[in-house]
Symmetry: C2
Subunit: 346 residues, 2 copies
């Protein structure tokens, strides 16, 4: 038994096809008698009719679909939340997400975007696994795009990234509020936006608390557990060691925990530690649980989809005055207080 078409509904209700369309789409301009409406709706109900979105798209020139192209987003733990946020926001506006994963392969990316354009997506979200600068793929220039966790170079297309600086500021301020003055910063050796943003936030927070910035207290290294371990070990064996450590991410914080344990330093009595990322499997699972800064992946995904949907809507209705908006939107990174911060010892 094939799916019912609009024609079938029309026949059953004893009206024309166009009337069914008008009723089901609740078109205001064309008025049709209430009892006719009821008849049509009843017929559709009974037949289990659902309009064919393909045919509709062809006619309306709107696919109600947005493409999500990403490098390796689906494979990283929290990045899935970006998809989730985008999907939820899109869904609320009647859009669905067409997912494409390029694994960073340039030629595959071209093909993927081409495939999305062929499918007439109304817009594209271009997402990267971690906050960074990207060159805008040629073919993306025609249509609507918003960049997610990525900053397009040489382009004024909208994008959303985490407020690294603000997050770091909050983290370090949490430490200075507890009275810490010597705060180590264990950071990534790479000059990614996250590293420079967080360094700025760190310095700013020190400055505002009146603490001195000491270059010897920042240690750049590989951004994994062992990197964090080594860096923490180095900082803690300084003649005048820091009383608190701010780590570039939770993995490094995990390494710092280990270094502290090796020195029989208790957290937070002897040393305070705060991380970044709020990773599910680390921050709440460490002993003690880790105070850290959450990356707003869900919110960023949501923002991206909303922004895209708005842009599409505005383009469709020319009378809507397009709001003036900043093109680089930064999303706040909230501090998550747990149990790894206390006042300095002594």
């Amino acid at each position: 038994m094939r799916r019912p078409r609009i024609r079938d509904v029309a026949d059953r209700a004893g009206v024309s096809v166009s009337t069914v369309s008008v009723v089901l789409n609740e078109v205001q301009s064309a008025r049709v008698a209430p009892e006719t409406r009821d008849r049509v709706r009843k017929a559709a109900q009974e037949l289990g009719y659902a309009s064919n979105a393909i045919a509709r798209s062809l006619r309306t020139q709107l696919s109600m679909t947005i493409g999500l192209v990403s490098d390796e987003i689906a494979t990283t733990p929290f990045a899935g939340r970006m998809i989730q946020g985008a999907q939820d926001a899109a869904w609320r506006s009647g859009y669905l997400l067409l997912l494409v994963n390029t694994g960073g392969d340039e030629s595959l990316e071209r093909h993927a975007i081409e495939a999305l354009r062929q499918r007439q997506v109304d817009g594209v979200i271009y997402a990267t696994m971690y906050h960074r600068h990207v060159t805008v793929p040629e073919q993306l220039n025609g249509g609507w795009v918003v960049f997610l966790d990525a900053i397009p170079m040489g382009s004024d297309q909208p994008c959303v990234v985490p407020d690294e600086r603000g997050g770091a500021f909050a983290a370090v301020t949490e430490l200075t509020r507890h009275g810490h003055r010597r705060i180590g910063f264990i950071t990534d050796e790479l000059a990614v936006p996250a590293a420079v943003g967080r360094l700025n936030g760190y310095r700013r927070a020190l400055y505002e608390s009146g603490a001195q910035f000491d270059p010897n207290l920042v240690c750049a290294t590989r951004s994994d557990t062992t990197g964090g371990h080594q860096a923490a070990a180095r900082l803690l064996s300084l003649p005048e060691p820091p009383t608190a450590l701010f780590c570039f991410n939770d993995r490094m914080a995990m390494g710092a925990y280990r270094a502290a344990a090796e020195r029989n330093l208790r957290i937070p009595q002897d040393i305070s530690i705060v991380g970044f990322d709020d990773q599910d499997l680390i921050a709440p699972e460490l002993a003690p649980t880790l105070t850290t800064v959450a990356l707003p992946h869900y919110a960023m995904g949501q923002w991206a989809a909303r922004r895209l949907v708005n842009a599409i809507a505005e383009a469709k209705s020319p009378l809507a005055d397009t709001a003036v908006r900043e093109q680089i939107h930064t999303m706040p990174c909230p501090l998550v207080r747990r149990n790894s911060v206390g006042p300095p010892s002594r």
Copy 2:
């Protein structure tokens, strides 16, 4: 400047629309002169023509799109790999994934599946966050479905799940091979398929190695770090404690590490531990790194998409004899050897 249509290509090449279609789709049956072919291709090239997949779908009754509906798949760390696998396999056959996330909400799920059907998806992958039994949503009965990491109840639709039993067998055999006879099993308190499968594998491996199954050595509790910690503490304080622990998942293994540390037991010299799941942020990051069993999420996703694509293809070409296949496909869970297993002490 709007996208070129097939009509534009036809005009530029000085041929009819149908000829363009035939050339671009490389239809074997209809022959057209080589120089005409070239002319058409050149025109298409120059115009940057790409066919409109919407219109094509309408005509061919094939959307080349498969829907992926999941409960909370996108938010969990490794589950993203399922999507990735499915997407890669689909892509290879020219399909794209339409993603929908229901968050477990029944009514939302109904709407989502409806939206997918409206968009004429050629098939649906129904995925769950963790291996479990599900009731098949009503509306899924018409079309092609394959279940991913889920077993449909009262249905013979194809599904793919991890081989829990085999994975546990491999894990425990790794321990018995090292000479362990008293092996604790820290498992989930819930009777999920993973728990029963892994218990069976555990018993089987003990049996094959000639070791005794001792009910006192299996401890069911909450499947998180603290659960693992408590269970390990209990087992290790037994009068005759186990020399090795097999944990239901890596989080519990992490708790077991902590319990071992509290007793000054070194891993693997004093006690061996193996986990399950091979979670990115735990297994390779613990000290020592954790021997564990990998859940084949990527492979399962791939399998699901492939199976679906095949089913669709077979349905389209009626002469292809449909292969006889098992309906519950189990995917092997490979053992990942790291540094938490050694011979028993004493």
